[in-house]
């Protein structure tokens, strides 16, 4: 190695010359260093932050992870409880709505606010002059109710309900709930057909009464009777449900 005065000159000289034994050794070691450095940089770039971690660190990671997962599980349980509660709520509400609808249908048929259909009888009454009026019709309706008629209609026009009123009209016919009905009268009644029919036909009953005043009664038992007319319910002015307040 020539003794140059200057470090810089010595370095440049070493870079120009192929080199001595010392340079060869340095080359080997530098190669090792470069190799190791690049390897380390590469492995550091990969996402393996846990590979070289120490035991204590790993234990801490695991602890925090299990804490987090426990918290998440609690959250899941809480949300599932909420979901179940909401589901139950919706279910019970649906059931209540269904029941209310059923009840509304039943009450609607009884109150005459909805059309009804079912097995029953159709009674045709001719008055043969002027004999048949409110008395006879009232008797007939009463007998039908006694026999369990669930929906009654007069002349396909007037639904007979609890508040129905009948009035004789001067001349011919009757006035039912403000509607003028003229003979022949037709009563549609839904219920047990045989019971309804026998309810009208027993001795000294409705049929005998009508025939006594000169009219005729024809009873037909039908598998399907349509009661199409409805009444508009009037909200009660004076009466109110007791005990519901």
């Amino acid at each position: 190695m020539p003794e140059a005065e200057d470090g810089r000159a010595r370095l440049l000289a070493a870079l120009r010359r192929p080199g001595s034994r010392g340079q060869a050794v340095a080359a080997v070691l530098l190669a090792v260093l470069g190799f190791a450095a690049v390897t380390q940089v590469r492995s550091n770039g990969r996402d393996d932050s846990y590979v070289g971690a120490r035991q204590g660190d790993l234990v801490q990671y695991i602890n925090s992870l299990s804490l987090a997962s426990q918290r998440a599980e609690n959250e899941i349980a809480r949300l599932q409880g909420t979901r179940d509660a909401l589901g139950n709520d919706a279910q019970s509400r649906r059931t209540a709505v269904e029941r209310a609808r059923e009840q509304a249908a039943t009450l609607g048929i009884l109150a005459g606010t909805v059309p009804a259909v079912g097995p029953g009888i159709r009674v045709r009454i001719t008055d043969g002059g002027s004999g048949v009026g409110t008395n006879q019709l009232l008797d007939g309706l009463q007998e039908l109710r006694d026999a369990g008629a669930e929906a009654i209609e007069l002349n396909d026009q007037v639904r007979v309900v609890a508040q129905t009123s009948l009035q004789d009209r001067s001349g011919r016919g009757v006035v039912v709930d403000g509607t003028v009905l003229e003979p022949p009268y037709v009563i549609d009644a839904i219920g047990d057909r045989h019971t309804l029919a026998t309810g009208l036909q027993f001795a000294r009953g409705f049929t005998d009464e009508v025939e006594g005043v000169g009219g005729t009664v024809a009873i037909k038992e039908l598998p399907q009777v349509q009661v199409g007319s409805v009444v508009v319910p009037k909200p009660p002015r004076y009466a109110e449900p007791a005990g519901s307040r």
């Binding site: 260093l33 470069g34 492995s43």
Partner: protein, 110 residues
């Protein structure tokens, strides 16, 4: 010349071979690299001072790497591996800085 070529060769080898670091070596490799860097800068400084000796370089290189690894290993066994690694890095960093300062004075005369 050959030294620079050797460094380049090592870097290229590392890039193209893409070796994976064995697990047992993983905690020691970064410290070892820093220690080797310290040895290399020390050697460069000695070269510029005109007192470079390849035997000294080899010994210092190997012993630097080994001591760094042993310190980290010992620290891991004692449960202070993280702190000890930091300490080693700090010391080596200071040495590298002072060596580089001397090299700078040689090359740039400043």
């Amino acid at each position: 010349m050959i030294a620079a070529v050797g460094l380049l060769l090592g870097v290229l080898l590392g890039i193209f071979l893409q070796p994976t670091v064995p697990v047992w070596l993983d905690p020691y490799l970064p410290i070892a690299v820093v220690a080797a860097l310290d040895a290399v800068f020390g050697a460069l400084r000695a070269f510029l001072d005109g007192i470079f000796d390849d035997k000294v370089f080899v010994v210092s290189f190997v012993s630097n790497v080994l001591i760094a690894a042993v310190i980290v290993y010992l620290g891991d066994k004692l449960g202070v591996g993280g702190q000890l690694s930091t300490g080693v890095i700090v010391v080596l960093g200071i040495r590298i800085f002072s060596n580089v300062a001397a090299i700078r004075r040689h090359i740039f005369h400043a």
